[in-house]
Amino acid sequence: MKIPYADIVKYIPEIPSIDAISEKLFQLGHEHEVEKSIFNIEFTPNRGDCLSLIGILRDLALFYEIKKDFPIFPDKLEKLNLNFIDNTDNTCTFITFLKIDIDDKILDYKDCLKSYYEQTDNLKNNFFTDISNYISYETGQPTHCYDAKAVGGKISLDLEKGKHNFQTLLDENVELFGSNLVFKKDNEIINLAGIMGGKSTSCSENTRSVLIECASFNPEAIVGNAIKYNLKSDAAHKFERGVDPCCHDFVLRRFLKLVHDHANVKNVQIFTKGNSAYKQTNIKYDIDKISKIIGIKPSEELFSKSLTKLGFKIDKKLIHVPSYRNDIKTLNDIAEEIARAIGYDSIKSIPISIHSNSNQSKNLNQNFLRDYLISKGFFEVINNPFVDYCNEYSIEIDNPLDIKSGYLRTNLQQSLIKNLLYNERRQKDSIKIFEISDIYQIRNNEVFNEKVLALIVSGRVGKNYLDFSKIVDNDYINDLFKDILPIENIKVKNILREDLDTKLKNKIYYCEIPMNDINIENDLVLKNENKEFLKIKYVPISEFPSSNRDLSFSVKNKSKFKDLENFILSYKHDFIKEVFVFDFFDNKKNNEIKIGFRFIFQSGTSTLTDIEINNVMKVIIEKSITIDGVSVPGYEV
């Protein structure tokens, strides 16, 4: 909600600075930003009472004296003869209608109405709607203005079911469905109650006779409907959070005062209906209990002064909660009020020691398997469980994000294939990944979830020269698990590439094992100490393609072989992402070593050209061959 600083300080004689108010708003729990001297405040959903200028002033009264200068129309109001029927079951606790007739002439906006439409980005609409919008901003109570001539003298509140077309006052056509709280004139829906009025009875610049509806709806009757129809509604936002059921008289008299300030009022009448009497919340006055909740004992004076400033009334045994604070129900709520008054940061910590039955992680098998696979070059992945395919045991999402996410996965295979293909497209030729996650099934209308380990492999076994030419296969996975799992638990699948969106030929192997089938000996379990992880700073990944270059050297002075290896492996250049030995042959007969290095080039800012790569390679070669006995077969200086 946007509230200009100027509007707030107008009612605080002390005139605190923007920073001072900002600090107090944070102390109160009202998160906000300040842009061009306007507070943009995000109130928590329990504080519907703060969604107005008066609401925020009521909270700031904890720290500042507030000048309550909101003049109202003081005179007695005549009774309106309106045929209003509430056909619903307690969806609206109180409702008031005010009918105002004015002369033709309307003055230019002045005072608060003028500044409201000048200071903020609120758009003018028509006289009565403009006042209604301002009143909602000032008091927090939404009102709806009907053109009284278009409504006539009969109106009803109904819980309408089924499909209906409804045209909003903003000219949007909405197809209503399900159950909706609506106002009707005869059989016509004229207002989506608490959300948005209809076109047929809306006010215009020509309206001179207005019927203002001021209601206190049950939040459950309103919640979710504005989003359901994609309607942006400040009224719905307020009704969903609860409004003050006792404010109607003040709000409508304030409305009438603003009308009086800008036009000649010819006639005014009021109609009120309440389904049940308002019951004030009263809470037992128990300062000791409050102290136990917060951890410090507030003085009697601080306690009573704070609550009084916030509008609570205290007698010896009871705290009487003001009607606008529908969030206050228990002594814990009162404790929060006191803690806000003290300031959370002013409450000193008190040490506590926690004792429990076990101080060991529950997932020992899981942790061991993760450690083991990672030591074997596997990367752990996490996928979300939403998939677009199903089988007879699949669980369907009733409200999926999109059509590709309609079911929960019953295995991890498709997720890991997707991960594998993603990395193959990024030129990875040795892929070993695993995931430990829950899978979900429904059988006989009962939901089951089961934790499984799944892994997928394809391409080279590794990057060192012993593994570079070996390709992973069925035996690779069996060997991987042979020492830690019974062989009968390991079922390896060859995933056929024909069905996948890929032109590569390397075979893909997949294996999925229920975690319940895995029982690791406890003495194998090691706790993973990962404190260093906190220090890792992520470097954004290049989205440009990488290029490989292989370079083979002949080393005739074997004592210099390590010099070459150290030089190449430690060579740094911005374009070189990785380098490793992929081939090695010690030809004892010729007393010569042949060694091959693979360089992987990638830039963070562009696609590298052959010339750029060759220039780097040239420098590496020329420096390498200065080492005694080192040459690159076929390379001429």
Binding site: T44, G224, I294, N332, I347, Q360, D398, L401, I433, K527
Partner: protein
């Protein structure tokens, strides 16, 4: 093989893989809390509305229960848990105070953009005993925050709202750039929740707290886009060895 022969062989590097950074962060937070005395418990990701909402004092009218915020499954008979709090409800029903329980895992909300995902991870804790108060909660939160972000970090407590805690707070830390960054939510367990779990709220009180694992990892590891965690990009994962 003699050492002179070894000297003429290249180093054989068996490249290690990497833990997923979110699981690393989750493990780290859980280990930290276990060291502080908590016991780890587990619970299902597919929950009933009763455990996910009702028992936690989240009323039928609460926006979080709407179809646009929560994933419903199996003809609305279940939900994908929207937080790990229902695990604590299950823990409270099984244990008699005093107890300190933590749970960590995946949770689901109907969001999908650069800062929100339909699946993310939380770690939550609860401690119930006689005379547990907000000042005790502050002590524990300081310990957790200092362990994660360093002893020098400046933090503040702001009043907030969660239906299952009262008073409730959110905790911010001050970044090097001078911005306050929200890192966790906490509060005194609402007596209604204790009573729902058959714990006498006139005798016992408790505190609870919850951290978003992705949020902490993003802040500590400098990842700006939450979606990076779930692309399964080996170049990304490799950085968290």
């Amino acid at each position: 093989m003699s050492s002179s022969t070894k000297a003429n062989l290249p180093k054989i590097i068996h490249e290690k893989g990497a833990y997923h950074p979110i699981n690393q962060m989750r493990d780290l937070i859980i280990d930290l809390l276990i060291d502080l005395g908590f016991e780890e418990i587990d619970g299902p990701e597919i929950e009933t509305e009763e455990f996910n909402f009702d028992m936690l004092n989240i009323k039928k009218s609460h926006p979080a229960r709407q179809m646009h915020d929560t994933f419903y499954v199996n003809s609305k008979s279940n939900v994908l848990r929207t937080h790990t709090s229902p695990v604590q409800i299950r823990g409270m029903l099984k244990n008699n105070p005093p107890f300190g329980l933590i749970s960590g895992g995946k949770v689901y909300r109907k969001d999908d953009d650069a800062t929100h995902l339909p699946m993310f991870h939380q770690v939550e804790g609860i401690y119930v005993d006689k005379d547990v108060n907000f000042a005790n909660l502050k002590y524990l939160i300081h310990k957790i925050v200092y362990s994660l972000f360093g002893d020098g970090v400046k933090l503040r407590f702001r009043p907030s709202y969660f239906p299952f805690t009262e008073p409730s707070a959110e905790v911010d830390i001050l970044s090097n750039e001078g911005k306050w960054l929200e890192i966790l939510g906490c509060g005194i367990v609402n007596p209604i929740v204790l009573e729902n779990c058959k714990i006498d709220s006139t005798k016992y009180s408790g505190f609870a707290f919850g951290l978003g694992v992705e949020r902490i990892a993003m802040l500590l590891n400098g990842v700006n886009d939450i979606r990076e965690f779930y692309k399964s990009n080996l170049d990304f994962l490799k950085q968290f060895k």
